[in-house]
């Protein structure tokens, strides 16, 4: 569990980038964080894994105050996948790249081999095991980057804008993977701009604007609340917008539900 108590952060000591953040993310949650550029989303998650330290307030992870913990220590619990996979790829082989985190965490060499094999299989990267990661395509490199974090079996997984530039199939594969991890107890936190993606796949949504938390709750209520969306400079997802115009119960967000509601509204078809 991640617990933020009245957290403030500022880069220059004068202008606050995060203000009065009070937040609880429970084990097994699946959360999306949305908001305009500069709202503080990335800053917030960097406080979770120690890359930044709060100016004011406390953060507890699994009931422990993380003030004194280093990034390396926190990274054992929290996996962080950055937006650009090319920010991390440097090894001679894909296997080495994936094993890097396990080496740093001083895992047993035999255990490292086992985990590498496991994760290569899971991500369909077996054929590339001894290849240079630089020769892989963009999408494959993204998978390597994700694999290189997941092989350490983190309790909490944070992803920064994982869907940028991805086509529908890639997004679907990603969400399937994340859902499976979530079913196995991994807490998932995603920062994203993709409204439709969040609306369709992510159960809990946190909205931020200008360093403050504006809303936090089930996606189907958050992304249909006009006020929340306005404050966060977001537009309604399409189905929610349609719901709104037709004056339906605004928490409808799936196509099936929408279809049923419309047929009811019209008074039955055929």
């Amino acid at each position: 569990m991640i617990h933020c108590q009245n957290v403030w952060y500022s880069y220059d000591g004068i202008n606050p980038v995060l203000q009065e953040i009070n937040l609880k993310i429970m084990d097994g949650d699946f959360v999306g964080i949305m908001g305009e550029n500069g709202a503080g989303k990335t800053t917030l998650v960097k406080l979770f894994n120690g890359l930044l330290k709060p100016a004011k307030g406390e953060i507890f992870i699994n009931q422990k105050n993380i003030k004194t913990l280093s990034v390396a220590e926190l990274s054992r619990i929290i996996g962080f996948v950055f937006q650009n996979s090319d920010h991390q790829i440097f090894s001679r082989t894909v296997a080495e790249e994936i094993g890097f985190i396990l080496k740093n965490f001083k895992y047993d060499p035999s255990e490292i081999q086992v985990r590498i094999e496991e994760i290569l299989k899971q991500f369909n990267l077996e054929q590339y095991k001894e290849q240079s990661p630089f020769l892989l395509s963009g999408g494959e490199r993204k998978r390597v980057a994700l694999a290189s974090i997941l092989c350490a079996h983190p309790e909490i997984l944070i992803l920064d804008e994982p869907t940028i530039g991805q086509d529908a199939i890639e997004k679907k594969k990603l969400i399937e993977l994340l859902r499976e991890l979530n079913r196995n107890g991994v807490t998932i936190i995603i920062i994203t701009h993709d409204l439709e993606f969040t609306a369709e796949y992510i159960p809990r949504c946190i909205l931020m604007s200008k360093g403050e938390l504006i809303a936090d709750g089930p996606t189907k209520y958050i992304l249909t609340s006009e006020q929340c969306l306005k404050e966060a400079s977001l537009v309604e997802p399409q189905l929610a917008h349609l719901s709104h115009i037709l004056k339906f119960d605004k928490s409808l967000l799936s196509i099936e539900e929408m279809k049923t509601k419309i047929l009811e509204y019209i008074g039955g078809a055929r």
Binding site: K46, L51, A72, S75, Q88, I89, F90, F100, F134
Partner: protein
């Protein structure tokens, strides 16, 4: 960038100034003449409103200056050590004046107008333009590796050097990727289309520039003549004991 008499001079004038001061300071090996040149520079930084920045530059040179004094004292003389460290301060200061009062845009423009090939001057200005971007990228790479357990603080010197590889390699790859993307963008905006490229804000030398260049040239020539004819006063050759 601030505004002052010095700032308003053409960058080429300031470049010429730095070169002339360099030559003049190379003509002398003694303390007094070099100190005179140095003292002559001091008011210029005041006029240019960059006094504090210049002092900071000098602060950075203290270590090197002391090192020079020590080495020279051991092998030749204390006198030479002091003289050489003053010369160091003079050389660095004269180019400092250029870099502190020339806007980066005008910097590459000035190089172009002294016939440095455009590609070279442009590469230089691109480098300057991308410094903040690269700094941010380096930070991103650092963080991306830190969350994989990379320890940058701990370990002996060998470990620390080894731990740089996961930072340097992505940075190099990213820079190469970026270079290709920039090149593509440049190509689609006509880069290299015409041999005679035009410039939005070409630099124009004004009367005050030519005047200063004239004065500097006069000084240089006079000093060289005085040196060659041995007509310099004796007290200039004052030596410290040892």
């Amino acid at each position: 960038m601030k505004d002052s008499v010095i700032h308003n001079l053409d960058p080429r004038t300031k470049l010429y100034f730095a070169v002339i001061i360099t030559i003049i300071s190379l003509c002398f090996n003694e303390i007094i003449p070099l100190t005179i040149i140095f003292l002559f520079l001091v008011p210029l930084f005041k006029i240019g409103k960059i006094f504090t920045q210049w002092l900071n530059t000098l602060k950075g040179l203290v270590f090197l200056a002391v090192f020079i004094i020590i080495i020279d004292t051991l092998f030749i003389s204390f006198n030479l050590g002091v003289a050489m460290s003053i010369r160091l301060l003079v050389l660095i200061s004269s180019f400092s004046l250029f870099f502190l009062t020339v806007h980066p845009d005008d910097f590459s423009q000035s190089l172009i107008q002294i016939k440095v090939p455009f590609s070279f001057a442009f590469a230089l200005s691109l480098a300057i333009r991308f410094v903040p971007t690269l700094a941010q990228e380096a930070q991103n790479v650092r963080e991306a590796q830190m969350v994989r357990g990379l320890e940058l603080q701990k370990g002996n010197i060998i470990k620390k050097v080894r731990n740089f590889i996961p930072i340097i390699i992505p940075l190099i790859i990213l820079s190469i990727q970026r270079a290709l993307l920039i090149a593509e963008s440049l190509e689609s905006r006509g880069f290299g289309a015409v041999k005679q490229r035009t410039y939005l804000y070409p630099l124009k030398m004004k009367f005050k520039d030519f005047f200063i260049i004239g004065i500097l040239t006069f000084f240089l020539v006079s000093i060289i003549i005085l040196l060659l004819t041995g007509l310099l006063p004796d007290w200039l050759h004052f030596h410290l004991p040892f």
